[in-house]
């Protein structure tokens, strides 16, 4: 649904901006892994497409608020970063398929890269509510771009941090430490959200351990609601056939081993309907 929300608070969190927006109706229905899209630029803007953001936090205040965490990348996020309390923000959501939750209590490692960790805390809440053990692995290029370390420390059985420049936690990538964390925790499942490269690495580790892995992918989106077909990536279906599926409505959460990470940005020759390929 669409809501013209009101910005409640804005704050900086290291390299990121956090916006809390009063958006009843959206807040109510959010489940871990959902995202929302924001219209940016105001009236008469030249920016036509909405920007997608994971929902970080949902609170019941004022009928329901959602918090978004984002880095400034281009003009749309720059505009969002300039919003002040009481400004309005047009949101559509919740969108996408949320993370599936395990039926029975088990141990889950939650891996977040950069602002990707924003969507992991609601997930951790939900998992813990089902009696799961949660361990965190958060990473980024540098300390200021690791999001949510404190909260992870509070919530997680263990929390392992990595930075590429060594400014926080271990020097390296989340995939360098992930095998150790999985082994120590005897993890049953992995959830990951972050850059595509990281998701690929995390998936490889989980496959190695032969445990299920859910990844939340990010692709350039023009609509976020499944109508434009711009956000596709090659995913293997239950029938073994690779299809170009939409990150926005078929995802963003996918089973990691089903995503053909090596082929993202291409049409694999054996995908359904690939040029010169076989037809169903």
């Amino acid at each position: 649904m669409q809501v013209t929300g009101t910005v409640l608070t804005t704050r900086r969190v290291d390299a990121y901006h956090a916006l809390t927006v009063v958006a009843p109706g959206i807040a109510d229905r959010c489940r871990p892994g959902h995202f929302v899209t924001a219209s940016v630029g105001g009236p008469n803007t030249s920016m036509l497409t909405r920007r997608a953001f994971a929902v970080h936090d949902v609170k019941p205040d004022y009928g329901g608020t959602v918090e978004l965490v984002f880095g400034v990348r281009g003009p749309g996020t720059a505009w969002l970063a300039d919003l002040r309390a009481r400004d309005t923000l047009d949101l559509v959501g919740p969108l996408g398929r949320p993370f599936p939750l395990p039926r029975d209590p088990c141990t889950c490692v939650l891996v977040g890269g950069e602002y990707g960790s924003a969507s992991l805390f609601a997930l951790a809440d939900a998992l813990q509510a089902r009696g799961c053990r949660v361990d965190f692995v958060l990473g980024a290029p540098s300390a200021d771009r690791v999001f949510g370390a404190l909260r992870a420390r509070r919530m997680g059985e263990t929390t392992t941090l990595t930075t590429e420049d060594g400014s926080l936690g271990m020097r390296g990538k989340v995939t360098d430490v992930l095998p150790g964390v999985i082994a120590d925790a005897r993890a049953d499942a992995v959830y990951a959200c972050g850059p595509m490269d990281m998701l690929r690495g995390v998936t490889a580790v989980a496959v190695e351990f032969d445990i299920p892995v859910q990844v939340a992918v990010e692709e350039r989106m023009a609509c976020g609601i499944g109508v434009c077909m711009t956000c596709v990536l090659p995913v293997i279906g239950d029938d073994g056939v690779t299809r170009m599926v939409r990150a926005c409505t078929d995802g963003p959460a996918f089973r990691g081993e089903r995503v053909r990470f090596e082929d993202v940005g291409t049409i694999p020759f054996d995908a359904l309907g690939a040029p010169g390929g076989r037809h169903a």
Binding site: L48, R50, C223, M229, M244, G265, A280
Partner: protein, 324 residues
Amino acid sequence: MGADLRAYLAHVELPNPVLTASGCGGTGRELAQFSDVARLGAFTTRSITMAPRAGRPTPRMAETPSGLLNAVGLQGPGVDAFLQHELPWLVERGTRIVVSIGGGTAAEYAALARRLADVPGITAIEVNLSCPNIEDRGRVFAREGSAAAEVIASVRAATRYDVPVIAKLSPDVADVVAVARACVDGGADALAMINTPVGMSIDVDTMRPALAAGTGGLSGPAVRPLAVRCVWQVHAALPGVPIVGMGGVTTGRDALELILAGACAVAVGTALFNDPYACPRILRELEELLQRRGLDRLADAVGLAHRPAGSQQRTRTDLEESSL
């Protein structure tokens, strides 16, 4: 009492003139979460192809000033899956359905039209002529009147007489009227314009084309002046031919602009990406604008901007903000 908003595509009556544009409304199911697709003037499907198509690699979209470039490449499940999984859902809901078709040869278009000929519930066939003609070095049909006319004639021949065939044209030709006329001569009952002109964007950071495909189709308000011009020119030359106007319609005012230029219906594409409720909103806004201008019937507004200067139909503009 509201205005009479009925729109006519040849002999087919639509309850209102606001359609979705091909390729911009998904299968209909996605939009239905936001508003009732049966309330649309009609729902236009993405361009259906014979075989399933995986489309183009990503990135498939890039934003440009007031515009959007896309290179989806007609991704779709193919006509069989369309008929099995997508069309019935729309038919069940009582949606008026314009089925858009795309092919690489006139024969392929004709074969698609034959596949659709016996299917109940199809309101009109829209022929997407912006596909590369594989028999002419990939030259797009819409760029050449005779190639376009051949496709239209073959589709017209394969389609039931009571289902209008709509030829969808591109603006990036030297003479859109010539192509329009060729299509009408070839049997088109109506015209749709504009499809996206070919554009391109280069990412100055990676120093590479922003789209994996290199070029893409430009849509959104940036192209509206091209759409208005095409509709105007074609309506002036072929006043009796119904035109579905599209290109950058985001508000009722934009819709009215195309209608005054000569469109009898409008389609909404890119605007849906920003506002999934765009179609009902635009219809509401259009109705109000017509009423404020004392136009009780949509049909009276069609092509109204063509009337000779100083002629008397300039009624009721006084109700708008006075112009200094």
